[in-house]
């Protein structure tokens, strides 16, 4: 049960971090180009952004995922990191409690 809880927390924190990175990568890709018809990649090539000039003169945006691997890797690293932090934090708390008790 304890491990399930830790995994659920690490999963959601890492999910939010990944989503924030995806959004940041997307905005950066959008930033870096203003020319129509150029495909820009962001977040280590995971996301692409392309602006098309439509016949009517308007600009249409196309966004999407070009390669899911970097996103999966970011998610995995975030997950493991959160899990490690929770475990460490709990161990440290336990140690503090022990030290206080022996006093």
């Amino acid at each position: 049960m304890k491990w399930l809880l830790r995994i659920v927390i690490a999963f959601s924190v890492s999910f939010v971090i990944t989503m924030a990175m995806v959004v940041a990568g997307f905005i950066m890709a959008m930033f870096s180009t203003m020319d129509a018809g150029v495909r820009k990649f962001g977040l280590f090539g995971a996301i692409f952004f392309e602006a098309h000039e439509q016949p009517s003169g308007a600009t249409a945006m196309e966004i999407g995922v070009a390669d899911g691997t970097p996103i999966a890797i970011i998610f995995g690293i975030g997950f493991l990191f959160c899990l490690a932090v929770t475990v460490m934090l709990e161990k440290l708390k336990l140690r503090k409690k022990q030290l206080l008790q022996t006093q």
């Binding site: 905005i27 959008m30 966004i63 995922v65």
Partner: protein, 475 residues
């Protein structure tokens, strides 16, 4: 009236907020406090970048900023009134916070004014957060010359309109005192504000069209609402500022004079539904929800808006139903006494199901007539289904906010902090998932999964708070 006691009470409110908000629920742990601060800072930065990119994309290099500022200036009244209605409803709920000061040697007037000052400071913090991004990105795009333009066309009008609305509110409260209706002000004040909104909406729309027209024709647009920007343009910034200071001082003097001398407690409940249903747990929770005064206010708002939309021929899916679901923020705290009186131990699951179940009952009760009205307006039933999904998920999320950030004594600050954090996280997830271009069925699956996570967290939070209350674990 002594100024120092007003300042003292004002500080008391903030001390209460800082100690209670930073000491309860999720924010009790220091890790969560640091994480929350980080989320707010990163969210604000992201908000800035997003608004900068959007504005550069659409407006960069055009001279459309001037008319857009004029439109923003004209609609300030409308937006501030919407925000004021929200703030008013939240602060009316905070009546118990005011009761904290009852054993202190202060007059009712000082109490009211200190509360007004506290309210203004909370509003100022929130306004900086919301309008800050727009202002910063405009200045970044158009150069520092725009600082004064934004000042005279957004910030100063916002402050003046807010002060005027406060004055109007105190005058209204005085009027209600005289008519002996002050106990019902929790219902009457939001209704008056809603009436104001419905009157201002067509005016703002019309003026926006006039501004657009006069910009295309190259004419100058004049309106008494643009007084600060016109003074700035024709005479100079100093005069605009001088007029602002003079007007503010006059209005504040008016507020001091109009603040009521007597205190009348608010009516908090309304007797609806037979008490017999309290025999079941779900029935008791339903009674708590149905009988609370805020529910009545929210329901009246929903019906008033539906009627307004019907008369103005605004054809929209019934998204207004979401208004009731925000009640969920108070659902946990309002039903706290129920959990205290249960003699036998019942799992957090059961309590959670009752909390959510009662809200679903309320929602369905209101949704039936409103959706029927929408269908009569010619909206497809398939357009109403996403609304139902949205509202149900909103109930779950707002209940989670209420559990993670319990608004003790109905203090509005916790609610606002919780809402801001939740909005940042939800927007990030929604934007991120948007990049993936998922199929509708797939995104339904993802969102259902996220809702299950929300439910899990709510139940875990309730279990933890219950254990803290029984001193089984340290908070």
């Amino acid at each position: 009236m002594r100024l120092e006691s007003i300042v003292l009470l004002f500080r008391l409110f903030w001390t209460f907020i800082l100690r209670r908000v930073l000491g309860r629920g999720l924010l009790a742990s220091r890790t969560m406090r640091i994480a929350g601060t980080l989320v707010v800072i990163i969210g604000f930065a992201g908000f800035n970048v997003l608004s900068y990119t959007m504005m550069r994309q659409y407006l960069g290099g055009t001279d459309l900023f001037e008319p857009i500022l004029a439109i923003a200036n004209i609609s300030v009244g409308f937006w501030v009134l919407i925000a004021y209605t929200l703030i008013r409803v939240l602060f009316m709920k905070a009546d118990e916070l005011l009761k904290l000061t009852f054993n202190l040697p202060a007059t009712n007037k000082e109490r009211t004014l200190a509360f007004a000052l506290f309210e203004a400071s909370v509003v100022a913090v929130m306004t900086v957060f919301v309008f800050g991004a727009f202002s910063i990105s405009t200045v970044l795009l158009e150069g520092p010359a725009f600082i004064t333009k934004i000042l005279v066309s957004i910030w100063l009008p916002v402050a003046s309109v807010y002060l005027l609305l406060s004055l109007a509110y105190y005058l209204l409260e005085r009027g209600l005192f005289m008519m002996r209706l002050a106990r019902l002000r929790g219902l009457l004040v939001p209704m008056v504000l809603a009436l104001g909104l419905s009157a201002l909406f067509p005016y703002t729309n019309e003026q926006t069209a006039v501004i657009a027209e006069s910009f295309i024709d190259g004419r100058d647009y004049r309106s008494p609402l643009l007084v600060y920007s016109m003074l700035d343009k024709n005479v100079g910034l100093w005069l605009a500022f001088l007029v602002f200071v003079a007007a503010s001082m006059a209005i504040v003097a008016g507020i001091v004079a109009a603040a009521p001398r007597a205190y009348v407690p608010l009516r908090r409940f309304i007797i609806l539904l037979p008490s017999k249903i309290a025999r079941w747990r779900l029935g008791a929770y339903t009674l708590v929800l149905f009988r609370s005064f805020e529910t009545l206010v929210a329901v009246i708002f929903v019906f008033a808006f539906s009627l307004f939309a019907w008369m103005q021929h605004i054809v929209l899916p019934p998204y207004v139903l979401a208004l009731i679901t925000f009640q969920g923020v108070y659902a946990y705290v309002n039903s706290e006494p129920l959990r205290r009186i249960s003699t036998l131990h019942v799992s957090a699951w059961t309590h959670y199901l009752s909390i959510v179940g009662s809200q679903v009952i309320l929602w369905v009760t209101i949704a039936v007539p409103v959706v029927a009205g929408s269908l009569a307006q010619g909206i497809e039933i398939s357009a109403c289904l996403p609304v139902a999904g949205f509202c149900l998920s909103n109930i779950l999320i707002s209940t989670l906010i209420g559990i993670a950030f319990p608004p003790e004594k109905g203090n509005p600050f916790t609610v606002l902090v919780g809402a801001v954090l939740a909005i940042i996280v939800i927007l990030t997830i929604a934007l991120g998932l948007n990049v993936f271009n998922l199929e509708p069925a797939m995104s339904a699956v993802v969102y259902s999964f996220l809702n299950i996570l929300v439910v899990t967290y709510s139940i875990l939070g309730m279990q933890r708070m219950e254990r803290i209350r029984r001193h089984e674990v340290a908070s």
